[in-house]
């Protein structure tokens, strides 16, 4: 019998690093989860930090209320960092940390923890995300204005190139741009432009000499997204690789092709995952993964997959395991890793590549004409492009031009047994986690030498003021027991705080193009006439969550439906929201919360409103709100709860107008 193709032994390529983005509640709970994940065959760690840690606040800061341990692990000091990696030898780990504004600090804690484990800096492998441009544009966990933010990013680069040669100091992210609605053209061009802005900044530094600079370029890595149009996504990554190679060669004169390699990790798309018929998301995740593994020439170095239930709430360990198994099946059961590139030579792919590359170059020229990335962030020009792209995307789904199974077509479904359990198919963070973290923090502060911590902070302040690299001073702070909030406090004191442009003011919502807008306008006009004043809506984002896409789209559509909209951007305290509602004479308040902290934040907003005598103003809440929490919010007095399944924005406008009518004794 002839030898069959299948029986021939083949040398397989090594698979990508297999990770799961995880962390919650406390360092000890996350440590247990990491050990479980490693035991199940994960080959690297990906640390999710909570929002206070990401924005440089201690767990007992007023802005941290309700956010501690929610979307990730709280790391307040060296003790937490050591507990997080207890029993996990750092010299053997490849650790990715999703940390940006406070990246210098978390890296300093990691270095200090490793030092105490006996691992030298040079032996550490991993990645700090450390990309601030996308924070201003899409993710919202920035702390300082753009210029000092880029300077701190560059501090981490200069430090790691010298001290930690195996570390990836920056993961330039296009991931969050796509989550915020970016098309492939915007995703690639904005990310590449951000990378160039950073490299230009590093090139001018005294502590990076010209001979080392190609190494700096070689250490830059990327973090991308991959959605349902997986052919287009694969093409995107091939194009990104080609453009990166050329930019490194032409702009920075890097001659070693190894140092021009486009290295990227990926988390596939969460934006397209649906709350309706959530079991379908398992297929979506598998298909999205194809875009980043099929083409060998543009294959991911590290892959993280979301869980099927991310539109419902936080995933449980089993949900994460289910996603982990998909990676292992793809890598080990299929023949994917046995062949060379499957698409070189395809005319279809080549044509798609040429079109995309030309569009990307045009977009990058536009950014340059706006004065470069920093200027285009400050003016809001790039943000406006993103908000407009997302408005367009959602409009297509609303109008049914873009089909989403279970959402705007094939909506008939049997009840899903996956969400039938007592937990509703999601994880709930124990409310005691915040209290316990605050207690640990107080004990930590009491046990350290206050004088040593003060001296280390003063050294940090001096280094920051002098424009020196803050890394060594931060490591000293870590070793003397300084806390995350104290480190962030010094940075804010020296460099100032910042609020990024919201990007919603100038976006055209393609008014009139959406069916149903007319009905929304009629409702708003009718209620406005009854009020004697145009209906005024205050859109607020309480807490530290920076995912503002939902709030932005509500603001744009409310404007298009004829409301006057006050939107102040992210990260407001309940007190600030109540005070704005009073000053503005708002008829209704819309709160957007995606971090899972709604049960703490919404009552706080109601209390602040009551303190100002504004109990009568109707409040609606939108976000990732588990079905089980709906009753609690309604009992509190919330007029209406909207979740990702409410994709008809015009219907939302009609409901808001109706709530205002009822609150003011008008006919709806």
């Amino acid at each position: 019998m002839a030898d069959t193709v299948a029986s021939r032994p083949r040398k397989k390529d090594r698979p990508w690093v297999i990770r799961t983005y995880s962390g919650h509640s406390s360092a000890a709970a996350s440590n247990a989860l990491y050990r479980e994940n490693l035991a199940r065959g994960q080959t690297g760690l990906s640390v999710a930090f909570d929002l206070p840690t990401q924005t440089g606040y201690d767990a007992d800061h007023p802005l941290a209320t309700g956010e501690v341990g929610k979307v990730g692990v709280p790391i307040g000091h060296l003790g937490d960092m050591e507990a997080l990696f207890h029993g996990i030898p750092l010299r053997e780990m490849n650790t990715s940390m999703t940390i940006n504004a406070t990246a210098p600090w978390l890296l300093a804690l990691y270095v200090a923890a490793a030092e105490r484990q006996g691992t030298p800096r040079a032996g550490l492998r991993g990645t700090t995300q450390n990309d601030l441009v996308k924070e201003f544009l899409a993710r919202g966990t920035y702390m300082l204005p753009p210029e000092p933010s880029l300077k701190l990013q560059a501090d981490v680069v200069a430090f790691t190139v010298r001290e930690m040669p195996q570390w990836n100091p920056v993961n330039v992210c296009s991931y969050h741009l796509q989550e915020a609605g970016a098309t492939p053209v915007l995703e690639v061009s904005f990310a590449l432009a951000g990378a160039l802005a950073l490299l230009d900044q590093v090139r001018g530094r005294a502590d990076v000499d010209a001979a080392t600079f190609p190494e700096v370029v070689g250490r830059l890595s990327f973090f991308v997204n991959a959605g349902m149009r997986f052919i287009e996504e694969m093409v995107k990554l091939r194009v990104m690789g080609g453009l990166w190679d050329r930019l490194c060669r032409e702009r920075y004169g890097v001659t070693d092709p190894k140092l021009r390699r486009f290295r990227y990790g990926v988390q596939v798309n969460s934006l397209g995952l649906t709350e309706q018929q959530p079991e379908n998301n398992v297929y979506r995740i598998a298909l999205e993964m194809l875009g980043v593994v099929l083409s060998k020439r543009a294959r991911a170095r590290a892959v993280q997959l979301p869980a099927w239930n991310e539109a419902l709430g936080l995933p449980r360990p089993w949900d994460q395991q289910w996603s982990l198994r998909l990676q292992q099946i793809m890598a080990h059961e299929t023949d994917l890793l046995e062949y060379g590139d499957l698409f070189d030579g395809s005319t279809v792919i080549a044509e798609l590549e040429a079109t995309l590359a030309a569009d990307v170059e045009r977009e990058m020229a536009w950014i340059a004409s706006e004065g470069g990335v920093v200027k285009a962030v400050q003016s809001g020009a790039m943000k406006e492009r993103l908000v407009a792209a997302n408005t367009e995307r959602l409009g297509r789904i609303e109008r049914g031009e873009q089909q989403v199974v279970g959402v705007n077509c094939f909506t008939e479904s049997a009840p899903s047994p996956l969400v039938a359990g007592a937990d509703g198919g999601i994880m709930t963070v124990d409310a005691a986690a915040e209290r316990e973290q605050i207690a640990r923090l107080a004990a930590w502060r009491a046990a350290r030498s206050a004088d040593d911590a003060r001296a280390a902070l003063s050294g940090l302040r001096d280094a920051a003021r002098a424009g020196d690299n803050v890394m060594e001073a931060s490591v000293r702070c870590a070793l003397t027991g300084v806390t995350t909030g104290e480190w962030g406090g010094v940075m804010r004191e020296v460099f100032g705080e910042y609020r990024a442009p919201t990007g919603v003011g100038a976006v055209s919502g393609a008014a009139g193009a959406t069916a149903g807008l007319g009905r929304a306008r009629e409702a708003v006009e009718r209620v406005s006439a009854g009020l004697g004043r145009r209906l005024k809506l205050l859109v607020g984002k309480p807490g530290l969550d920076g995912h503002s896409n939902g709030a932005e789209q509500i603001a744009v559509r409310a404007r298009d439906a004829g409301m006057e909209v006050v939107y102040e951007g992210i990260r407001l305290t309940p007190e600030q929201i109540a005070s704005a509602a009073e000053e503005e004479g708002a008829h209704a308040i819309g709160l957007s919360i995606l971090s899972g902290s709604h049960l703490a934040l919404v009552p706080a907003v109601f209390a602040a409103l009551a303190a100002r005598g504004l109990e009568g103003v109707p409040v609606v809440v939108g976000g990732i709100i588990p079905e089980g929490d709906r009753g609690a919010l309604e009992a509190l007095g919330v007029a209406r709860v909207f979740t990702p399944s409410d994709f008809d924005l015009n219907a939302i406008m009609v409901e808001i107008a109706g709530a205002v009518a009822r609150a003011n004794g008008l006919a709806e």
Binding site: G532, R533, D560, E564, V565, A580, G585
Partner: protein, 161 residues
């Protein structure tokens, strides 16, 4: 009416907000009350008070400058009222009023009162009711800052909606 006027002049936030709501009302019955209120507060400007206007195209730094000025006034212990005027959409009549976000208001500071106003059917410049709102704020606060994009500036092509 007199108690309302006295409360406005004492800088009571709820009374100021109610007065501004009244000024913006198009209801016939509210118009007479609004005019009476404005007449009553017109002569009650705070002694030594100032009204400062900031105008210029988007992106030139009005709000940044405004934020610094407000911060400095607060450091000197004077109360501040801010009126931020934004353009309206000609198609829908709606508006996104965003500029208050750029004026850094210290948390819990009730000595700053920011009101956004839509320019309604006017392009740029002042919103209808802005002058009346200035009169109310001038009676309620030591300093009044008025921020607008300026006549003609809202007609730029990017704002074509």
């Amino acid at each position: 009416m007199t108690t309302e006027v006295e409360r406005v002049c004492a800088g009571e936030r709820r009374a100021v907000a109610a007065a501004l709501n009244l000024i913006e009302s198009t209801r016939g019955s509210d118009r007479a009350a609004a005019e009476a209120l404005v007449d009553a507060v017109a002569g009650r400007a705070r002694p030594g008070g100032q009204v400062v206007g900031l105008t210029g195209p988007p992106g030139v730094g009005k709000s940044t400058l405004g934020g610094r000025v407000v911060g400095e006034w607060r450091r000197r212990g004077v109360t501040v009222g801010v009126i931020a005027v934004d353009p309206s959409s000609r198609a829908s009549g709606g508006a996104v009023l965003g500029d208050r976000s750029r004026i850094a208001k210290p948390a819990g500071d009730d000595g700053v009162f920011i009101r956004s106003m839509a320019a309604r059917d006017r392009l740029g410049g002042l919103a209808p009711g802005t002058v009346e709102a200035i009169l109310v704020m001038r009676a309620a606060f030591d300093r009044v800052l008025v921020e607008t994009v300026g006549v003609g500036q809202s007609e730029r092509s990017r704002r074509s909606w």
